[in-house]
């Protein structure tokens, strides 16, 4: 993975010093709350229900074991012994004290980590495919380009005060695992007719209150123009994005109101002016690629026969392999998902002990690297098949082996009313209740591939609008109610879920979800997935059952 050079290290240390000064000026009353608000947000610090919440950047979801151990010690020393993985592959701490945040950041800086631009109206962490570099369907590894973008976005002097937040995702595979079409800018690595690899650039996608699918502004962009094209889009957005209403300030609204054709023309005009001054050299791309060179794989890894033996001898292991591991482009290796969705713990949360145990596993079995996924799980990307049985046993002992990846209990979930000052309704408690109701693994596996996303408010941090089942917490006269959508997807066939009907009260949400699952089981044909069934039969059969008694 990318290793900081002296410059990179200096920059994050300088940012810690700057933030220390800003915090002191606020605590001494020199900086007003509004001024400090904007400055702290640009460094990932929110003020929440109980305490400040600090969001730490995990660029494109890649972590070293050393970084994971630091996250663990920070959780212990500055928080209540745990942290939370987010849908942008980042990490959040819910309990740091404001006056200690500068020290916390200084500790993170010792392992090349920071909180720069993890919130606020600026360029956010670039996210990517958690199977980058190991999946078979990859055109090219997106991570070198993610790092080039990370550096370009970091303290960009012109785009530090945008109309609203701005998120970029890059995918290099044919299967989109990074929700690229729901980003302010989405980047796909693609091959043109001549066989050259370049980028397809989308703009104007986004989730939140008004979910919109991104549209292609340039079907093919030569690699050397990546940064000039991004700069042109950002300049047009910075100048013309709406600033009169924060709910209409994202680039998706600008693209929609301007129209794709006119927006594209504005971008292209600016790009033609600057493109030759901002060329990305081949040399720089090659240098960056070298930072993400594949590890030294064992060429005899597939000679092992113990894996097959364990598979046939141990049904639980076989089940875990089926759901929580994934094919690898190198024979004899598999990618391993660590489920952060154990039935009795909040989705995406990890304790300090778990973090440290995972760091050890990564060192021993996966070249010392860990990835976070946008569905709030972790991945050990390069595990030899001969090691899978041991890895499974060890993960099981730290409650990270629930075989539910891609199933109904692998929910995306925001912190909700329990932690977040924006939320209208709880989400963690509901997730727990749904989990308890669906405690039969065979039933869960029979339901198969289904994605439930649940957000505690309209801001949609848990991407409910693209969940196969979306659950949105709303406030009704001070009570927590939930609105349900069906049929959303953030993958290749991107779709925004359709509203099922009136919202349901908290004490009926779990029953409603189980009813929806029952309808699916009755309606499905052969091995049709939930999403396919919803597409075929529409919402009617679901409505009939859910609202039967109303």
């Amino acid at each position: 993975m990318y290793q900081y050079n002296k410059q990179d290290q200096t920059l994050i240390e300088e940012r810690v010093n700057e933030f220390r000064g800003q915090t002191q000026r606020f605590l001494s009353g020199e900086l007003g709350p509004d001024q400090f608000r904007a400055l702290r947000l640009m460094n990932g610090l929110y003020v929440q229900t109980h305490a400040p919440m600090l969001r730490v950047a995990v660029p494109y979801g890649l972590l070293s074991s050393k970084q994971l151990r630091k996250l663990a010690s920070v959780a212990r020393d500055y928080d209540h012994g745990y942290c939370h993985f987010t849908t942008r592959q980042n990490v959040q701490y819910n309990w740091p004290e404001l006056n200690r945040v500068p020290d916390l950041l200084a500790e993170l800086a010792t392992v090349q980590m920071h909180a720069i631009q993890t919130s606020g109206n600026c360029l956010r962490n670039t996210s990517s495919d958690h199977l980058a570099g190991i999946c078979k369907d990859e055109i090219e590894d997106p991570r070198p380009y993610c790092e080039i973008i990370r550096q370009w976005t970091t303290l960009h002097p012109e785009f530090a005060f945008l109309p609203r937040k701005f998120k970029i995702a890059v995918s290099g595979a044919t299967h989109d695992r990074a929700a690229v079409q729901f980003h302010d800018i989405g980047v796909y690595l693609v091959k043109n007719e001549a066989g050259e690899i370049g980028f397809r650039i989308l703009a104007g996608g986004g989730l939140g209150r008004t979910p919109i699918i991104g549209q292609t502004v340039r079907p093919f962009l030569e690699k050397q123009h990546l940064l000039s094209y991004l700069e042109a889009i950002l300049r047009v957005y910075n100048l013309f994005g709406r600033r009169d209403n924060k709910y209409k300030a994202r680039i998706k609204i600008l693209v929609k109101e301007t129209g794709l054709e006119k927006f594209t023309a504005m971008v292209e005009k600016e790009w033609l002016r600057i493109k030759d001054e901002m060329l990305l050299s081949n040399e720089r791309i090659e240098e960056m690629k070298a930072q993400f060179a594949p590890p030294t794989y064992d060429s005899s890894a597939s000679n092992d026969s113990s894996f097959e033996a364990h598979l046939s001898a141990d049904a639980s292991f076989a089940k875990w392999v089926k759901y929580n591991t994934v094919e690898h482009k190198i024979a004899g290796y598999r990618g391993v998902y660590l489920s952060l969705k154990a039935p009795d713990s909040p989705p995406g949360d990890m304790t300090d002990k778990q973090l440290e145990a995972v760091a050890d596993l990564a060192d021993q079995y996966s070249f010392g690297e860990i990835r976070s996924t946008h569905r709030q799980n972790l991945v050990l990307a390069d595990v030899k098949q001969a090691d899978l049985f041991t890895v499974w046993q060890q993960l099981d002992s730290i409650k990270l082996a629930t075989p539910n990846i891609g199933t109904v209990t692998d929910m995306i979930c925001c912190p909700g009313l329990d932690f977040c000052s924006l939320a209208n309704a709880g989400s963690i408690g509901v997730a727990k209740e749904i989990n308890e109701a669906l405690d039969d693994l065979d039933y869960i596996h029979d339901i198969g591939d289904i994605k439930i996303n649940m957000s505690g408010c309209m801001n949609g941090c848990a991407h409910q609008s693209v969940g196969h089942i979306g659950i949105l917490g709303v406030d009704k006269h001070g009570e927590e109610w939930y609105q349900i959508t069906l049929g959303g997807s953030s993958e290749n066939e991107a779709a925004i879920g359709e509203r099922l009907g009136p919202s349901v009260p908290k004490d009926q949400i779990t029953a409603t979800i189980t009813t929806i699952l029952d309808v699916y089981i009755k309606q499905r044909l052969e091995d049709e997935t939930f999403l396919e069934t919803v597409k075929r039969v529409g919402l009617e059969p679901f409505k009939e059952r859910v609202y039967a008694n109303h």
Partner: protein
């Protein structure tokens, strides 16, 4: 009152004249873009120098033909979070090759000076004198730059 210009403290010689005030006979003055476009000739006949104060929604293209005659362009922050002025500065320097002074005025923070300097702003006026020292210090907050810039 003192301002920062090219990292030095200098005495300010410029006054902003609102649209409803008459033009003074002497002295260096800035006016709004609207007034500049309307009274350009009159402004250039005066004995003092003339400049333009831009607001975030102003289109810098409208000044393109006049830039050689304008000694100072002020970028006026109504609120510190309005980032349009950063792109305006950048365009004036890179697209229009404007060589004169670009000065930040209005409601902005010393913490933004590092960014502003990098997009081509070379003068800073603050109503709070404490901000001047903070701004001078903030210019050195970072020694690392990932992007090409105008300075």
């Amino acid at each position: 009152m003192q301002i920062i210009k090219d990292r030095q403290l200098v005495e300010n010689t410029w006054t902003f004249i609102t649209d409803d005030s008459p033009l003074p006979e002497i002295g260096d003055i800035t006016v709004t873009l609207v007034r500049w476009l309307a009274d350009k000739e009159q402004l250039l006949k005066r004995s003092g120098q003339a400049g333009v104060r831009l607001n975030p929604s102003d289109q810098t293209e409208q000044l393109a033909d006049d830039l050689s005659k304008i000694a100072v362009i002020e970028l006026n922050f109504p609120i510190f979070g309005d980032g349009r002025l950063f792109s305006q500065a950048r365009l004036l320097r890179s697209r229009d090759a404007y060589q004169g002074e670009i000065r930040a005025v209005g409601d902005y923070l010393p913490d933004q000076v590092f960014y502003l300097a990098r997009v081509g702003v070379n003068a800073f006026e603050f109503s709070d004198p404490n901000h001047i020292q903070e701004a001078l210090a903030a210019m050195n907050n970072f020694s690392v730059r990932y992007q090409a810039s105008t300075n």
